[in-house]
């Protein structure tokens, strides 16, 4: 016999909240089009979710609820910003959001993605891995990167894009195996 709901709500809530951080971030990057705004909006979203913890029904879909909160914050953020910060207009955003809701989020896919990404990064040639590292860890601009590797900016951009394309192929291949 199990006693119903022995979970103190806040503990379960925090676990879900932390479990969903990466995916919420990814979601916000998709809506907002850049990581810096996504960072800010994620923090605001966390605060809102924490305040509205009581409105979340334990046992219901946390991810869907969290995404709704994030989406709401993102749209509010865009409303407050100058037009030139927008990547997408309302119609496009609505389509992205609507389509995203149809996608299934696996509850534990996040760690698998993380592992797959690492394995794929590890399998990159050194030179490519270094480029990605410099771009993301050291936040170097394309101009700085180009200077460092002695190539043109356009070639550097293309190189980054190509690496990301091959990473996607690699990750998606591994996730098809979805390591449970």
């Amino acid at each position: 016999m199990k006693t119903e709901d022995m979970n103190p709500p806040d503990e379960a809530f925090i676990r879900q909240l932390t479990d969903w951080q990466n995916r919420l971030f990814g979601y916000l990057v998709t809506i907002l089009g850049n990581v810096h705004d996504a960072h800010d909006v994620l923090q605001e979203t966390n605060v809102v979710m924490w305040r509205k913890m009581d409105e979340f029904e334990p046992g219901s879909n946390f991810g869907a609820w969290a995404k709704r909160c994030a989406q709401f914050q993102a749209l509010a953020f865009l409303r407050d910003k100058k037009r030139d910060r927008h990547v997408f207009d309302e119609e496009t955003l609505a389509r992205l959001i609507e389509e995203d809701a149809q996608l299934v989020d696996s509850a534990s896919g996040d760690e698998e993605q993380e592992i797959a990404l690492r394995e794929c990064l590890a399998s990159l040639p050194d030179e490519q891995r270094r480029l990605i590292r410099d771009r993301y860890r050291d936040q170097l601009s394309v101009r700085e990167l180009a200077g460092r590797i002695g190539k043109k900016e356009s070639a550097t951009k293309m190189a980054l894009m190509r690496i990301r394309e091959s990473l996607l192929v690699c990750i998606e291949g591994k996730l098809k195996e979805v390591n449970p």
Partner: protein
Amino acid sequence: MSGDPFDRKQFLHLLSALMDGGQLGEADRELLNGAVRDFPEARDLYRRHMDLHARLHLDYSGGLAPEGMPGEAPKQDKPGSTSRLSPPVLAIAAALVATLFTTSIFLLNQSDSGTVPDTTNGIAVLSESVGLEWPESAPKWQRGDAIAPGLFEIESGFAQIEFFCGATVVVEGPAKLEMVSVSKAVLHKGRLSAFVPEPAKGFVIAGPEFDTVDLGTEFAMSINDDGKSEVHVLDGEVELRDKQGSLLRQLTAGKSVKHDGPGLNLLEIEGQGQTFAGREQVVRMSGQRGESRLSEWRRYRHKFADDADTIVYFDFEDHAMWDRQLHNARPDGPDGAIVGARWVTGRWPGKGAIEFKRVSDRVRLDIPGEYRSLTLAAWIRIEGLDRRYNALFLTDGWHKGEPHWHIGNNGQLSFGISRVGTLHTEPLLDSGDLGRWLHLAVTFDDITREIRHYRDGKLMSKAAVSGEAPITIGASEIGNWQPGEAAARVRSFNGRLDEFLLSKRAFTSDEIYDHYINGDPYR
């Protein structure tokens, strides 16, 4: 641009400008917006790239990967470490706290505690049970369960209940007992005997007319069919008090009274305390029942050893404590090798089991062949869900066609076959499931392409998967995982295993239930 076909190359250029180029020019922004609006393949590409972009950003900026460089092994959880939260997550928690609270202790305490919630609102433990039958609507308990306040009703059988105050009560069905507190219960119907050691003095069994307060040691009480109570003092002394708390009668060893209404008229009767089932009797009956259940199960298990579809059947019988080779009861089937795990007692006294405790404990297997369908079933006793994933049965690495079966630290069951598909259940296990024997099973059916998860003989989750690959197993482990070349966290299992079945046939729901019910130690 809705009239034009989707230009992938141009779109990648736009994405590149967005991700690496800083600010997007107005013309490019318009093009990107139009493509994402009009082309599903643009949205798909955009979403995948942005997701990777976000992940790379997190991974390198200290978001996801405090361990450092990609390609290096992520740090394994320290054995015994309770906090699963990585520094960035703690930072998020801390930021929240700073924003919202004047004190951070509350939140951090919450995040620090284990992953499976702690118990409970119990006031007593069901410490022994013999042949208990429950009314349809009543809550049903198993041996070892903490009992919450409320009605405890049985139709037949014997229940030994240990109250948290230290008093032990043996209830004989049919009976209806109302559990009130750690030191009080109300008997509405049936017979019980109570043993009250010194620390539990003052323990009360209330009846319809009066309360029996134990001043130490032993008494029995019954409510007869006519609704009248009887009290028999076996040892020591009890007080009978009315509902206002006034003393009605003090009874010493050997004395018995019967309520003989109207009013509170108490009639002295001949002592019949010996006719009540006591603790010793219950334990003896329980032991006998365990023995007979064990021998029933021993007769039953042969069907799996005899089944030509059985690949591995470990019944953990007929082993010596020093055995490191785990005998496959299926003749000619591959044996296992026990590494680290030690021999312990299984579901019944006299039944063998092995216990996985340390990070290195495991059973090694090497299973040749290709299979179309699969059933995995196990009797386990989980002591803790210490890892993000807690291994039941996993192949080394995770190559095409290989099955993995494990439990998440949130109590969710997962089963997947590489490149075929995976099914995660909702969280199905919680702290009430720790320390008790559980039957878990999973099947994959080649025809329906369905994965089905079972818990205690019940179908919990099913879904069809889309991938195609023959199932191969090869080098594999029970209770642990060798990740192979991939860097990954430890997945060691914490608990006991006393039956394990691997069949190349997908069992039906009935077969799974049959396997469960014939091995259920709580029956």
